[in-house]
Point group: C2
Chain length 278, copies 2
Amino acid sequence: MIELKQISKSKCYEGDQFVFSHHSEVCNCDMTFGIYIPVHEKNEKLRLIWFLSGLTCTHENAMVKSGIQRWASEEKIAVIFPDTSPRGEALPDDDSFDLGQGAGFYVDSTENPWQKNFQMWSYIVDELPNLVLTKFPLDQEKQSIMGHSMGGLGALNIAIRNPEIYKTVSAFAPISNPTKGIWGQKQFEAYLGKETENWKKYDPSILLNEQGYKGKILIDQGTKDDFLKNLMPEALEKIFNNRNNGDQLRYQKDYDHSYFFVSSFLKDHVLWHKDNVK
Amino acid sequence: MIELKQISKSKCYEGDQFVFSHHSEVCNCDMTFGIYIPVHEKNEKLRLIWFLSGLTCTHENAMVKSGIQRWASEEKIAVIFPDTSPRGEALPDDDSFDLGQGAGFYVDSTENPWQKNFQMWSYIVDELPNLVLTKFPLDQEKQSIMGHSMGGLGALNIAIRNPEIYKTVSAFAPISNPTKGIWGQKQFEAYLGKETENWKKYDPSILLNEQGYKGKILIDQGTKDDFLKNLMPEALEKIFNNRNNGDQLRYQKDYDHSYFFVSSFLKDHVLWHKDNVK
């Protein structure tokens, strides 16, 4: 039984913003996550939104910058903020900001030196849910997932491959076609090896095209995002148009890649998840 | 004429979140500030709220963590986020977090090595207003000020001594009686010298008691704030009770000193400023 160690607890919009650490068996290191639990009735089971963060982020960025707790409090939804990679001085890392610690890309690595620790897919999809769903008053039938940039990529992949668990998925400026992009090829080669066939299960444009997704998808993308060429929203846009499933990819005029953009549309996303997770 | 150099511009809740730097003549160095300008009509003059931050903060903390832009956008109010001290490798500093860079205490220093740069009172009250009131569409008759912790101290002192300019003042967990406290005595001795008579003009409990304030004051203080002994809210509470001017000091049960606390009550503060600045 994995033990949770409480790092902090701050009252926030009447609920509680916790930070916990715990040993991760899949990542072979200690991991940290934040979870917001709104005020609720005794025995009430709360909806849960997973928020996956982007490159360079820890569990903390979305937790302190997005302002999601206000809407989570009003709508009575729990929100979990996992870290973006395993961490530690003894763990492998890379000098560049977009590989290694802070840049796990939500994949299960098969290559050295990463594979011993960089098992973020299994951590997010299996280990962490097993831990939090038993420890907190959460309704496992009402889970959805969202993310920003690399976290948007993770959220889309995880939802598409696990539609029974994540009933809806939304993303802010997600990496949309990583097998073809600057943010994707470098990391997939490092984490997954040179065989590009093994990359496909982590590319939401390929996954959605091949296997569909029975839930709904909402994406917001700023038109002044400095990373548009790395994100390639047009790949998903094309598939959305063919899918005809009510998916939305909204280009938000003049918004950039920052949390100023995320926070501006986060209330929309929270309400949309609530409306669409029945 | 001081030039503003634009560091960044991010669209946020339809308005613009800017960061600028400029040479400061009073601080003898470059200074950085953030300013949020909501959508407005041509020729419209906007209300302005000054947000002064606490120990260790730069201009950035409140700007990225408080979520104030949402309410500023809805209520059509500009918000300015100054830095908390002069900065630079060539400038004096101290190893402790509560003195020197990041800890200007909003005073005009008279002592070496600080006095050449640490003129935060004059910067906030004179130099920066002269700069921004001419460059942005602001109504100088509708200014108010707020702050957090050390910034709450600064906001209270600045408003009480300049009631014609700042029509209302609010604070989150302000340092309330610095001439008697751990957060105050050390810094006032360093910045202002050993003569305690010179400290009194920077102590809101003394100022309010001696000269009053014709505007309204709102303070929120968390009951689980780890720094209650340094903040000493009871000093102001006593004066509020005697003043009978509609001032409010609200103890918020179980909230701590973090931005999770600030953001939880910030909408209240913004609406309160708007209601009370006629």
